[in-house]
Every structure is written in structure tokens, then in C-alpha cells.
């Protein structure tokens, strides 16, 4: 949750890492952070492609209520998280052909679920630190057995995602055709939501429900501006999530501020750079294309003389 101001920077990365690696909790943090970043990076590409970031946001918050309920009943918070997110995720998948069009329904259920979370917290007589770590994450508080749990929870998701990756990609890009081709688009939607639910549940340990976007949406938001092939986009998304998680843990070891703050800040900084870099993303490419072709249309030809038909003007 917070950094540890007792060790000083050495400005020698290898020596720094060697010092850190003596601590079991740092080893656990890196191991769990790595698994979580890979899963979150893979899932986040689908979140962005399916325009489901509001669902991701909602699942995180619903997870909070689940975790608060688990704490109240003296169960590990992760079980409450998994239960609430998988049930809600399946619900969202069944409800909406595309979750993107279901903001109102998701929001309505979300408000009620958060109310439940508040009630659980009110009943709970213990310390508020549990709630705090669910809200903002506590990666350095993770135990070796939790690392194993993280691995076991994500392995089946990896296997399933690898198996349905192609179909999920197709159903996300062209749902109408996928359905006409006899694919089970609703089942694929449920699989996606379950993967998202697990990714969120375990990512909460690192980043907390309030900051969940930093690992489940932003890495892919960065990746889709850099790559136009799904495979490359997924790889970039994973790399961003990994880099931010590792760097966040590393910096937090030497600074007093919480790890999640550094992770969120790193991801946001990369996002800013990518957004501000000129010439990335489809919108700017469209504009560039239009600019390049405007004078050419007037003169009846266009520079470059590629054998494509002249670019078209959109009807209103």
C-alpha cells in the first residue's frame, strides 16, 4: 500500500534489484504483478475492441461490494471479488448484444451493488485497511500463497482465451456476420466477460478497484494507437502493463508513495505521449488522407499515383 523509505537509491539498477530481491514480499509482488499484467494486457485489447470499458469499470466496482461482503463473512476478499464479478459479468453478457449499448442498465445495477458494498462496510467492525487496499490495491502485501492462487486463477483463462481468440476477435469486429456464420456470439460474449471478471478480480490486488482502468483499459488504448494488427496490439498492450507494473513496484520500493500511484502514473504518461504524438490513430490518418487528396481531386489526379480509386467524400 505504501512504499518503504528506509532504503536509498543506488543508481545502479543491478545492485538495486539485488537488494530488492532479498525481500520475499518483493519477489511475490513481482511474480503476481507479472501474471496479472499479462492477463490484464491481453484482456484489455478485447475491452477496447468491444467498447466495453464501462463494463470493466462496473465490474471493478461490483467487485468492491463482493470483497466487502467477503470481509464481513471472514472470507478472503478475492472470493467475494470473483463471485460478484463473474456473476455480474455473465449478466452483462447475456443482457446486451454489445455491452457498449447498455450503459443505463449497467449503471443502474452498479449503483445498487455499490450500495450493498456500503452496507457490508457499515456492518464490518474491523479496521478499514482491508477496504482501503481493495479500493487502491496493495501489491506488496501479497503472500506467496496468493501468488499461486493468482497463477491458478489465470491459467484456465489464458487457455480459454487462446482457444477462442480467433472467434472472439471476429465476433468483436463483425458481430452480424459472425452470427450469420453460425457462431455462438453470446457464448463468446460470456467467455469474454468471464475472462474480464477474473482479470479484474486478481488485478484489484495490484491496483485496486478505483484504479482498475490503468491495467484493464489504458494499456490497450495505448496499443491500438500504435499497432493495427491484433497480434501486435495485444503484445504492446501486455508490454505496457508489464512495464508499468514492474517499474511501479521498483519505484515504490524506494519511495514512500503507494505502488498503485506509480503504476497509474506510468500508464497515464505513456498514454499522454502516444496521444500527443502526431499521426497516430485512425482519425488523424483519415484527416491526413483527406488533406493529401483534396488538391489532387481538384486537378483530376493525385500524387503518389497508386492504382486505388480516388478517395471518396462522405455523404452527410
Amino acid at each position: 500500500m505504501s512504499g518503504f523509505g528506509w532504503v536509498w537509491w543506488n543508481w545502479n539498477l543491478v545492485a538495486d534489484l539485488r537488494v530488492m530481491w532479498q525481500y520475499t514480499f518483493i519477489q511475490s509482488a513481482f511474480e503476481a504483478g507479472t501474471i496479472i499484467a499479462i492477463l490484464a494486457g491481453v484482456v484489455s485489447y478485447l475491452v477496447v475492441l468491444r467498447r466495453s470499458s464501462f463494463a470493466a469499470h462496473a465490474l471493478g466496482h461490483v467487485g468492491f461490494s463482493g470483497a466487502a461482503g467477503a470481509v464481513l463473512f471472514a472470507v478472503a476478499p478475492i472470493w467475494g471479488l470473483l463471485l460478484f464479478t463473474t456473476v455480474s459479468g455473465t449478466g452483462i453478457a447475456v443482457l446486451g448484444r454489445r455491452a457498449a449499448n447498455r450503459d443505463v442498465e449497467i449503471g443502474t445495477v452498479l449503483a445498487f451493488m455499490l450500495g450493498l458494498g456500503l452496507l457490508f462496510l457499515a456492518f464490518y467492525r474491523g479496521y478499514a485497511t482491508e477496504a482501503y487496499s481493495i479500493l487502491f490495491g496493495d501489491i506488496v502485501g501479497i503472500s506467496p500463497s496468493q501468488v499461486w492462487f493468482t497463477l491458478y486463477a489465470s491459467l484456465p483463462i489464458f487457455v480459454v482465451l487462446l482457444l477462442v481468440y480467433r472467434q472472439l476477435l471476429f465476433a468483436s469486429l463483425d458481430e452480424e456476420v459472425a452470427e450469420a456464420k453460425g457462431m455462438h456470439t453470446m457464448l463468446l460474449g460470456i467467455i469474454f466477460m468471464l475472462a474480464l471478471a477474473v482479470a479484474i478480480s486478481i488485478a484489484v490486488t495490484v491496483i485496486g478497484v478505483l484504479l482498475i482502468f490503468a491495467l484493464t483499459v489504458t494499456p490497450a488504448a495505448i496499443a491500438v494507437r500504435l499497432a493495427q494488427r491484433p497480434l501486435y496490439a495485444v503484445l504492446i498492450s501486455v508490454l505496457v502493463a508489464l512495464a508499468a507494473t514492474w517499474a511501479g513496484i521498483f519505484i515504490a520500493f524506494y519511495e514512500v508513495e503507494p505502488t498503485s500511484f506509480f503504476i497509474v502514473t506510468i500508464v497515464f504518461a505513456i498514454y499522454l505521449v502516444v496521444r500527443l504524438l502526431p499521426g497516430l490513430g485512425p482519425a488523424t490518418q483519415q484527416a491526413r488522407w483527406a488533406r493529401a487528396s483534396a488538391p489532387a481531386l481538384a486537378s483530376g489526379g493525385r500524387p503518389g499515383a497508386a492504382p486505388t480509386p480516388a478517395p471518396e467524400t462522405e455523404l452527410p
Partner: protein
């Protein structure tokens, strides 16, 4: 050769509402057929029948010699609405590749699988004259360019029949005619039987083999110049409808339920 699709006295509807009744037509191999009619007449419903997403309430419908079934790989389908939007920063040929292999479970794993998929996509893009568009992001394509990509996506699996739902809807007249020429070329060169839904016949009329005209809950079918006459359409609508011709061979249908749809310029 026998008919690709055959309908006898087919009736179709959703719940209590009957969309149209008593449709009898047949579509031969390699035919270019336009499905015409006012909005809401049930043109897309015909596609749903052929795709096996809806069953006829009455009558007999056969496609490739059997009842239509969902997921028939002999059909390439371009729906009217699409998931792709301005923010879809995915290279166009990736969607065409998915048209070839998107129903499979895993991505292509061996180099030869990968090459076969790439070649299928390249061939499909070439058939619609969109080779140069393959490397551009979907979100940056114009309406007409996107329609070519969707067409290539549908063609990638080498279908025997194409169902195109309103591909001309958002295109200006010049783009519409270009796309019709591409489709017509495919029908002739590849002998792909093609049904194309439109609400304006004029960009199509010179290329068609057959018209299926749906209006007022009924279906008329035949050669364009037999169906699109004052007498046939008057009988179809049940009210006086007049078909006017201009000097260039364009048709204007006046007096139908929403005749303004047919007078589009």
C-alpha cells in the same frame, strides 16, 4: 443446372405480424438479382430466411437443394449494419482474413496455414479492386471503400452465393455505380450468385438478371422490365402505381406506399 434457391408459396413473419405471403421464385446459378421495395417491406427478412436465421411459416424454401441452415459456408453475407466504426484502428486486411478463418478456434499456427490465409485475403481484396486498401485502418476508410472491404471479407471463404444488404445505402450515385460494377464483374467472372438489397433500382438496372420486388406484403419476381411495369406494380401494391421512364433508361415509380424512396437521385 438446377436452381440455387427455390421458393414456393413461402410466407414469413415475426410473432403476430406477417411480413409477406405467397412468394414464389427461383434463382439460378450465376444470376445477379436485385431485391427491391420500400423500407420495412421485408427485404432483409428474405435474407434472414436464406441465412437460416428465420424459418418460413408456410410454403417450401430450398437452398442448394436443402432447407436453409445457419452457418452455411456457401453463403457470403454483407449485413446492412456493421460493428466497425471511426475508432476501429485495425488494418483492413485483418478483417478480410477473419472472413476466411474467423470461425476457427485458434489463430493460424503453422507457416503454411498462415500463408493460405494471407493468400485467401489477398485474392479477395484483388477481386474487389481493393488491394491498396488492405494496409489501411478500417476507421480511416470511406463508406465506399468499407463496402469493398466487407465484400472482400464475404468473398474470402469462396462462397457460391452472396447476400448484400443495402451496400449502396450511404453512397453517392457515382460510388454506387462503381460498386455495382465491381459486384457485377464478380457475378460474371466468378459465377457467384448474388442477391443485392436496394431501395433504388436505377444504379443496378443495366446489370440485373432478375428482380424480386417486395411491397405491401407480397412479392413479385421476374425480369426487370417485366416486373417494373405500371400493371405489375399496380397489382402488387393494390393501388394505382405508375412507372415512368426518363431518356437515359432510369425508372421512377410514382404512387407506391412511399414512392419517394424510389425516386432517389
Amino acid at each position: 443446372m438446377g436452381a440455387i434457391a427455390q421458393a414456393e408459396h413461402v410466407e414469413v413473419g415475426y410473432h403476430a405480424r406477417t411480413v409477406w405471403t405467397d412468394a414464389t421464385f427461383d434463382i439460378g446459378p450465376g444470376e445477379f438479382v436485385a431485391v427491391i421495395g420500400p423500407n420495412g417491406a421485408g427485404k432483409t427478412t428474405l435474407f434472414k430466411l436464406l441465412l437460416g436465421l428465420l424459418r418460413p411459416r408456410a410454403g417450401r424454401l430450398e437452398l442448394f437443394g436443402t432447407a436453409p441452415r445457419r452457418g452455411n459456408s456457401k453463403i457470403g453475407y454483407v449485413p446492412q449494419t456493421h460493428t466497425v466504426d471511426r475508432d476501429t484502428n485495425v488494418q483492413a486486411d485483418q478483417l478480410v482474413r477473419l472472413g476466411y478463418s474467423g470461425t476457427r478456434w485458434t489463430p493460424p499456427l503453422t507457416p503454411s496455414e498462415w500463408r493460405v490465409e494471407r493468400e485467401a485475403a489477398e485474392r479477395a481484396l484483388q477481386l474487389v479492386g481493393a488491394t491498396e486498401l488492405g494496409t489501411r485502418p478500417l476507421g480511416a476508410l470511406s463508406g465506399g471503400e468499407l463496402q469493398r472491404i466487407f465484400l472482400a471479407e464475404a468473398l474470402a471463404g469462396r462462397p457460391e452465393m452472396l447476400l448484400l444488404d443495402e451496400p449502396l445505402a450511404s453512397l453517392d450515385l457515382r460510388r454506387a455505380e462503381e460498386l455495382v460494377q465491381v459486384v457485377s464483374g464478380l457475378v460474371r467472372a466468378q459465377r457467384v450468385t448474388t442477391l443485392l438489397v436496394a431501395h433504388d433500382i436505377n444504379p443496378l438496372i443495366r446489370y440485373l438478371d432478375k428482380v424480386i420486388y417486395i411491397a405491401n406484403g407480397r412479392v413479385a419476381t421476374g425480369l426487370p422490365h417485366d416486373v417494373l411495369t405500371t400493371e405489375r406494380l399496380t397489382a402488387l401494391y393494390g393501388v394505382r402505381v405508375e412507372v415512368l421512364h426518363d431518356s437515359r433508361g432510369n425508372l421512377v415509380i410514382v404512387g407506391g406506399e412511399d414512392s419517394h424512396q424510389d425516386v432517389s437521385a
